[in-house]
Amino acid sequence: MKLLAIDTSTIACSAALFDGGDPRERFEIAPREHADLLLPMVDALLAEAGWSREQIDVIAFGRGPGAFTGLRIAAGVAQGIAFGLDIPVVPVSTLAALAHGAMREGGGTRVLAAMDARMREIYWGAYELEGGGRLVARGAEQVCAPMDARLPVGEGWFGAGDAWDVYGDILRLRLGPRLAGWDAGRYPRARDIALLAAPVYMEGGGLPPEQALPVYLRDNVAQPKKRKPSAPE
């Protein structure tokens, strides 16, 4: 299996190739440059790995939550490539990817992924590594005020994501001694998207290209204008 993974959900832009070994990755912090950088990154990776485009079996992408425009760039690129190559897509949660990265590098098994969602809210998700090495979500992903984030049971939780900087005080206060540490400098990355997507694809969980769609979590983005009564007076 040859898997391509991309993520443009935050100020980071990344792409990765995975075929069973250690993923090959490009990662850059590059606000507002994703549209420029992403495909050249993939080209560079393919050249390095000696793969041709046509060999790609599946494309995974960070489906959100995250910056709306970035989510659509990844979804759009995933749609285009999957449709053009006639291959499936695997949407991956960016919060799960963030948690997975923290575990992969930090070694823990319990992560609270939190990204700044602006408007005084955060994107929030709790993840645990189970016995078989499988990442499972403890409760649904949320967009909420830091005060309203649902806390999981148990101890030894590790915080990951930029909300641990912006809203770190509130979150730490709420967790108390159940928080083992945090790293606010982490972003979701394509390497983890790839590692999470591979088993999904192997188990037949790939989707058709047009189902490469963002999951925004925040859905109240506009207020309908009240219609004025049609006849004045």
Partner: protein
């Protein structure tokens, strides 16, 4: 040369396939205007969210309708601006990546160039040079088109675009957004003799337009007659007076433009170009000037994928395509474009 065109600059998702030899093979459009109506204007984030759901199914449909497989496609064109950045990025990311995955050239297209050249999809097609009147939701331009790709702006609105003036006046008349077509419908029942609206900027030389005053004039007229017993009559009469004033003003400036440039062909583009009163008037005018007026069919006046596939095809034939990523631009001056090399 056979090209897929993607348009997502505002609130329509449009996809089409154009073949340089066989012409337009298929085209599909999804309009979001109903979705935006309850917000009384386009909500950019909602527009982008809809494009990303619609665009690929539309591609599937046009390929099926055109009976075209990847083997016969020579390139992908997408609107790269001007427009809503988030919306543009959907067409650009999908279009550029489709091309990338197939090893095909991709070409970013200027949305207004698409509009300007839409009449060339029709038969008989106008030949260059010509004067183009672009009247859309966001623009009101008189353009001298020496040849495809070279656009000299010779007249422009100083405030509202014509389509915008139609839509704002339509709102005053309690018509649902976007109100241009509904206003035209309402004007048909109106009495042309009851009100006389001003013809802005016609008494001074030049090719500039101004339309914001007309909307204010309509508002004041409605206010002045707010106690009138027959409100439906009033609405129709105001619609008629407004439309007559717009058509008159555009006609006067078009006549001036033809004379100033010594050209005989007038090409109309943009959503307001669907207006029948305008089409009739400009057809007569061009004939009076010893020339001819050209219009795209109504569905190619408003945003559509066909005009993007067509303009993209010309530019691809001229040897243009993009390498690397997919930039889009909210603003992009029309006269910054380079002439298209003969294919």
């Amino acid at each position: 040369m056979r090209v897929i065109g993607l348009e997502t600059s505002c609130d329509e998702s449009g996809v089409a396939i154009y073949d340089a030899r066989e012409g337009l093979l298929a085209q599909r459009l999804h309009s979001q205007s109903r979705m935006h109506a309850e917000y009384a204007g386009v909500v950019p984030e909602l527009a982008s969210r809809d494009h990303v759901r619609r665009i690929l199914p539309l591609v599937t449909e046009v390929m099926r309708e055109a009976g075209t497989g990847w083997g016969q496609i020579d390139g992908i064109a997408y609107t790269a601006g001007p427009g809503l950045v988030g919306a543009l990025l959907v067409g650009a990311s999908v279009g550029r990546s489709l091309a990338w995955s197939r090893g095909l050239p991709a070409v970013p297209v200027h949305h207004l160039e698409g509009h300007l050249l839409a009449a060339l999809l029709e038969r008989p097609a106008p030949v260059c040079p010509f004067v183009a009147l672009l009247v859309s939701g966001g623009h009101t331009l008189l353009v001298k088109v020496e040849r495809a790709g070279r656009y000299e702006i010779i007249g422009e609105t100083l405030d509202d675009a014509v389509g915008e003036a139609f839509d704002k006046t339509a709102t005053l008349l309690d018509l649902p957004y976007p109100g241009g077509p509904a206003l035209e419908q309402l004007a048909r029942a109106g009495d042309p003799a009851r009100f006389s609206f001003p013809r802005p900027m016609v008494d001074r030389p030049g090719l500039e337009f101004s339309f914001s005053g007309l909307k204010t004039f309509a508002a004041n007229t409605l206010l002045g007659y707010r106690h009138a017993s027959d409100r439906d009559r009033l609405r129709a009469d105001v619609a008629r007076a407004f439309q007559d004033a717009v058509v008159d003003t555009l006609a006067i400036k078009c006549r001036r433009a033809l004379r100033a440039t010594r050209l005989s062909r007038l090409v109309v583009a943009g959503g307001v170009g669907a207006n029948r009163a305008l089409r009739q008037r400009l057809t007569e005018l061009a004939r009076e000037e010893g020339g001819e007026a050209f219009f795209p069919r109504a569905e190619f006046c408003t945003d559509n994928g066909a005009m993007i596939a067509f303009a993209g095809c010309l530019r691809l034939q001229g040897g243009e395509w993009t390498r690397g990523g997919f930039d889009v631009r909210a603003r992009w001056p029309l006269d910054a474009l380079q002439a298209i090399a003969p294919g």
